[in-house]
């Protein structure tokens, strides 16, 4: 079983993983980082999304051994106190119902806003349609992405 070092949320973790184990299960079952969720295992629902070098990646479809040396950000590492503009916007709009998919949604929105600080509806549609929400919080996700863009632009924003 290969031993690898993964840099997750600015911390180096040494772990033994089977060579074909997806990152999702290395996070959840080897490192007890359970913020990244299992939904489908085939890259259809986006619930397991993490950021790798700032890009959204479905961790159920990415082998852990291939990610050594990359910067991995999980929902636990976005900002532990919830102060990231996307998290603040998500709370202000009160996006979650059950909350299970929201870690993935937040990370996709974060990557979108990094690349496109003022996305229009079409850009939001394009970015967010990879992630399923079974509760149907899509109406609020759209509002929250727009609010997050405002908060990120105005660092002193009050929300």
């Amino acid at each position: 079983m290969p031993q690898i070092t993964l840099k997750i949320n600015d911390t180096d973790y040494r772990l033994d993983v089977p060579s074909d184990m997806p990152l999702l299960w290395a996070l959840r079952d080897k490192l007890n980082l359970t913020g990244t969720k299992y939904g489908c295992g085939i890259g259809q629902c986006g619930t397991c999304t993490v950021l790798v070098d700032g890009q959204p990646v479905k961790s159920c479809r990415s082998k852990a051994v291939n990610l050594a040396g990359k910067e991995i950000t999980t929902i636990e590492g976005l900002s532990p106190d919830g102060s990231h503009p996307v998290q603040r916007a998500w709370n202000h709009v009160d996006v979650p119902q059950c909350g299970y998919c929201q870690g993935g949604q937040i990370l996709v929105a974060t990557a979108l806003l990094e690349q496109n600080p003022k996305p229009d509806d079409a850009a939001i549609d394009e970015a967010m349609s990879d992630n399923l929400c079974r509760c149907g919080t899509y109406v609020r996700i759209r509002k929250a992405v727009k609010l997050a863009a405002e908060l990120a632009a105005d660092k002193g924003g009050a929300v």
Partner: protein, 725 residues
Amino acid sequence: MKTSNGHDVPNMDRRAFLKVTMLASGALMIGVGCKETSTDVEVVQETWIANLYVRIDTDGKVTIISKNPDGGQGVKTAFPMVVAECLEVDWKDVQVEQAALAVDDRYGRQALGGSRGTPDGWDDLRIAGTAAKDLLIAAAASEWAVPATECFAESGTVVHKPTGKSKPYASLLNTAATLPVPDVSTLKLKSRPEEFKLLGTFVRGVDNPKILTGQPLFGSDIRLEGMLYAMYQKCPVFGGSARSANLEYVRTLPGVTHAFIVPGGKEYNGLQPGVAVVGTSFWEVNEARKQLQVDWETTHADSSEDYARQAEALAAGPGENLRTDGDIDAAFASASRVVEASYHYPFIAHANMEPMNCTALLHESGTLELWAPTQNGKAGREKISATLGISENRIHVNQMRMGTAFGRRSRTDFMTEVAWIAREVKQPVQLVWSREEDMTHDFYRPAGWHHFKAGLDDLGRMTAFDHHFITMGKNGETVYGANLSENHYPAGLVPNFRLRQSIIETNVPTGPWRSPGHSAYCFAYQGFFDEVALAAGRDPLKFRLDLLSKSYGKPPIDLKRARDTLRLAAVKAGWGRDPGPNRGLGIAFHYDHGGYVSHVAQVLAEGNSIRVEKVFSAVDTGPILNMSGARHQVEGAVIDALSAAQQEMTFKNGSAQKRNFSNYRLLRFNQAPDVKVHFIQSDNPPTGLGEPPFAPAGPAIANAIFAATGIRIRELPFKRSGITV
């Protein structure tokens, strides 16, 4: 106690109960009059346990217990809001604690389902908050030696009106603890929206901080010291059992610690036969499970195609008569116009975002502890007790947050499975189903066929209604979710009425699916009413208002509340306006689970591809507890209804055929409409919102599609009519 990834585990042994009174529900309200001293932290802390729901610390911290499990319906925020409202404390000073399943009935029903949480909890929660507040007022009055009637409470403080002097609750705990429990019948409970300060406002979810930072919260987030991961392979054909399997080989695979056959029984919601594979990670166990070769014994080969053939044959027959009003044959003979149409919807799956899972640990003491994302822990505990022979008082159920529920988690098969496995492996174990197992071992919403015939008089009023309902059953009885009440409207709203029923035998497990029954057959009724209205040359709104204006015998529902929601949705949507080229408006109303809901949908058609642009919703479920949570349920139900209208689960050779989101598709972000929610906060007691907004949303959209395209959708999913979303 904390788990290895920092999960708070509810305290199992909180013993400080002295006195007992009855709550309105019949539940016991235990407590009051003692102090609990906790010594497991360095600082000795004193807590006044006012009652089952309220604890106040000497440092002013107010803890409110949430008794029911939360799967996204928002009860963990809304219920404590009710207590806080009546306790007169500021929400910012409140922290909420999730209750475990009680060993007795002290909390009354601790379950999620039937939109019953709110109506069942409403009185108890108000009593708990008000009783604690009255005790604190009495304590202050006693300390000041003034009449309690001269005092009032606000923001966690008791104020003496004549002098203006005040005392914070935290300073009154010792005195309050010595006072007798107030007589419940003397409590003045807030009940109307104008009395509320906190209720009815927009309050954010109490679990947001954990959700937004990915902290452990859900059932599948539990990590215990030395915990193993288990999967449980059941026969792909419902009800089949395992004769043998290549267990010795599977045990040699990487990460696998155990593999064994469980004999199980016949009941779908009990412990079914299967093969358990246990190991050191879900992924390794799942890889090993794929190598299982099991010799299954099966007893049927049900298929969707066969059901459809049977439905067609049964449609030609008379069916069993369930209700007849008036003279139906004479009414049709004298009708000036007769309209006939047939509707059908398929089986659908729950497709919860978090696959079924449960964690169990058999303690050395013999107590079985479970961390269960369940809608009905009590039912699960009973099944485990019956199956494993462990007495119920030795089974402790922690109610975990659920990654959606929608009725699936009211079935507790996964709890019994993990209990059995935990006993075998003698280690803490987490059972996680794969998405494929979740999809293929669901308790599905059953299919149905509706054959309608309506007779109209010269004025376009419906004078006769004949309905042949072809549904799913077992041994001649309808299965769960497949029954239609003979009293369901338009029964009672049409002078001549007949309901007939035929049953197709099925071996497919069925169960509650968000607004069971209603979520399916409302599509048929409300589509047909549209057809009848248009055939009569009448406006679909006016036709419905007329239908809901006169009853024959006792009205089946509150007709005024029904009409009010129709009118409000119509006004908000601008019903009657020209929506523009290729656009259409559609309307539908439904009553279920105590709630009255109408929707108007606006769709834009580009050929047969439609976009649902907006849905205007009007809802009367009485006073709103949490404005955010209430809007959430309506927004989510509309989107869920549009999603469900694209779904179909099919069966072949006794097995479910769709296994994942690649061919069982849920609605995506770019397909979702904007939802405009409007509430009528009537004086009726509040009812739940998880279910009522769902049923009328699908038909409102289908009726709008007809208005935009001329295509009448009589079958689900929409694509059967050539419509894509």
